[in-house]
């Protein structure tokens, strides 16, 4: 079931209405049932996968407590099962195609991949979420849960099941295990998140997607058209993905849960390190805690600079690969690895008085936006040849009609993106001048919600799937 549909609206109203009449135990059972319905609505056989992940990780968690001598075996079972599911359903075709091409390159007979594997949506998200449970138990940071139902809801909670935020067991399980309440403030903030999310998806992302697709699919293109296309895609991907997170957080809040913040105004980041603290925070912190840190602190890699660089490379390689089975995603990850290295080197060679000068920040933000636009072009394009073409177009070879088209579509994209920049400005003003809860903020949110509601009715674009569903 997709969020921006009448089906979801009716489903969610039904869930909220029944949910608050039940006691805690029944709420958990009801939410599991509704989550399985939500996921099975897309395709019923997806349920076998999520059930496998749930059952395996539940028993692995218990086994680690009961048999501390075999902790490592239980962790291995959990990781192999989850990565096995992910590997088979997401990467098998990619792997087979690349091996076949490699064989052909050496003059050996290749083979055709006859298995047409359908990617189960959300698998990259919930497998990572359940793995964090078993890894945390292994690290003695979490006690395994005996109540299977509480754990099953942690894995399948429908608002964040398909595209995150990837919740950590230590934050989310305690919320499942305690009595939940719903205050007026929760309703206010939950509804605001929902309407802001729907507005970002249906008005900004879906309209700008049309512009990005038109421009980036052009066979005969020019420098200006490609870069306006990259700008449109940057607006689309942020509006689209952060919309999903906001709808997830808003839905969860109306059920008495607090999900983690996934985006913190990423396009005002002044450096790659800051960008990764603001963009898809639940994934980057997961990768930091469960991939980068253990690698960089492993016995073989921990002391040498080369070890740190290798750890960083593997981290960004896997970050790219997580996004999809395609070389464009891997290249995108490697590009960000080089950016981090470049900034790390530049920072250590810049005098202290200059590098943190607040007057330089706007320029640093602009430079980071420029690097990001290159990354959008790498991310977008599946064919490496087209990426290279796009990045090497001459800035001076634009025909008059191309200049006019680029100007017009840039203006349109900028107009659609204004609410995003406005939101960042609002957050800045609110943080500086107002208390978190005051009547001015409530008034602003109410007026903005009404405007956005009418905006959705009048300006909604043709419905496009959430980009992160394909991951």
């Amino acid at each position: 079931m997709i969020f921006h549909s009448l089906d979801y609206l009716l489903f969610f109203i039904f869930v909220v209405a029944v949910y608050w009449t039940l006691n805690r135990k029944l709420q958990v059972i009801f939410l599991i049932g509704m989550s399985y319905f939500f996921y099975g609505y897309i395709h019923p056989w997806f349920l076998y996968l999520i059930l496998t992940s749930t059952v395996v990780d539940y028993f692995c968690g218990l086994s680690m407590e009961r048999h501390p001598d075999h902790k490592q075996t239980a962790l291995l079972v959990s990781v192999v099962t989850n990565l096995g599911l992910l590997g088979f359903f997401k990467y098998f075709g990619f792997f087979v195609d690349n091996v076949s091409e490699l064989l052909l390159m050496f003059g050996l007979p290749g083979f055709t991949n006859n298995l047409d594997i359908y990617l189960p949506v959300g698998i990259s998200f919930y497998t990572f979420q359940t793995m964090s449970y078993t890894i945390d138990i292994y690290r003695d940071q979490l006690k395994p849960r005996k109540n299977f139902l509480d754990f099953a809801l942690f894995v399948s909670f429908f608002p964040q099941l398909v595209a995150g935020p990837i919740e950590r067991a230590k934050n989310f399980l305690p919320q499942i295990e305690c009595e939940r309440t719903l205050t007026v403030k929760d309703v206010q903030s939950g509804l605001f998140l929902l309407i802001w999310g729907f507005f970002k998806k249906m008005v900004i992302a879906d309209n700008v997607a049309f512009i990005a697709n038109k421009l980036l699919f052009l066979e005969e293109t020019s420098f200006l058209l490609v870069w306006v296309g990259a700008f449109a895609f940057g607006v689309q991907i942020f509006a689209d993905f952060s919309a999903y997170s906001d709808i997830a957080r808003g839905s969860a809040r109306l059920l008495g849960f607090n999900l983690s913040i996934n985006f913190n105004h990423p396009y005002i980041a002044a450096s790659p390190a800051e960008y990764w603290k603001r963009w898809h925070i639940s994934l980057s912190s997961w990768i930091h805690d469960y991939v980068f840190l253990p690698l960089a602190l492993s016995r073989k890699l921990r002391t040498a600079t080369a070890g740190l660089i290798v750890s960083l490379f593997i981290t960004f390689f896997l970050n790219g690969l997580w996004h999809g089975a395609g070389w464009n995603f891997i290249l995108w990850g490697i590009y960000h690895f080089f950016l981090i290295l470049l900034y790390g080197w530049a920072r250590s060679h810049t005098p202290e008085s200059i590098r943190d000068n607040s007057w330089l920040r706007p320029w640093q933000v602009l430079l980071m936006l420029f690097w990001n636009h290159i990354s959008f072009l790498i991310f977008w394009e599946w064919e490496l040849a087209y990426t290279l073409r796009n990045l090497t177009l001459s800035p001076f070879a634009n025909s008059e009609i191309q200049i006019q088209t680029a100007k017009f579509l840039f203006g349109q994209t900028l107009l659609y993106s204004l609410p995003l920049w406005g939101h960042t400005l609002f957050a800045y003003i609110q943080e500086r001048f107002f208390a978190k809860e005051c009547w001015q903020v409530t008034l602003f949110q109410t007026v903005a919600s009404m405007i956005m509601f009418f905006g959705i009715l009048v300006l909604r674009g043709d419905s496009v799937d959430f980009i992160y569903f394909q991951f």
Binding site: D140, Q141, A273, F292, L293, E352
Partner: protein
């Protein structure tokens, strides 16, 4: 070694690691409060702390650290054991 001595030593290590001779730290400070304290620099910091105090820190221990005072407590615990 008491907590003030550990804090003083950490200050020296951080100034060198972050290439910031004027850096002043306090126990309640976190990575957010120190410019340039990112994931990479954090690894440098951990390795420098290990070398300087002659201790070994594990991933499970490091992941729990949120503030300077957590580092001080962890180091104190490691030295006393």
């Amino acid at each position: 070694m008491n907590s003030d001595e550990i804090l003083a030593k950490i200050t020296t290590i951080m100034r060198e690691t972050f290439n910031a001779p004027a850096l002043v730290i306090s126990p309640e400070m976190t990575a957010k409060d120190v410019k340039g304290w990112d994931s990479m620099k954090n690894i440098w910091l951990i390795v420098a702390i290990e070398d300087s105090f002659n201790i070994k820190l594990t991933t499970s221990e490091v992941i729990k650290v949120e503030s300077i005072s957590d580092y001080v407590a962890l180091i104190q615990d490691k030295i006393s054991n």
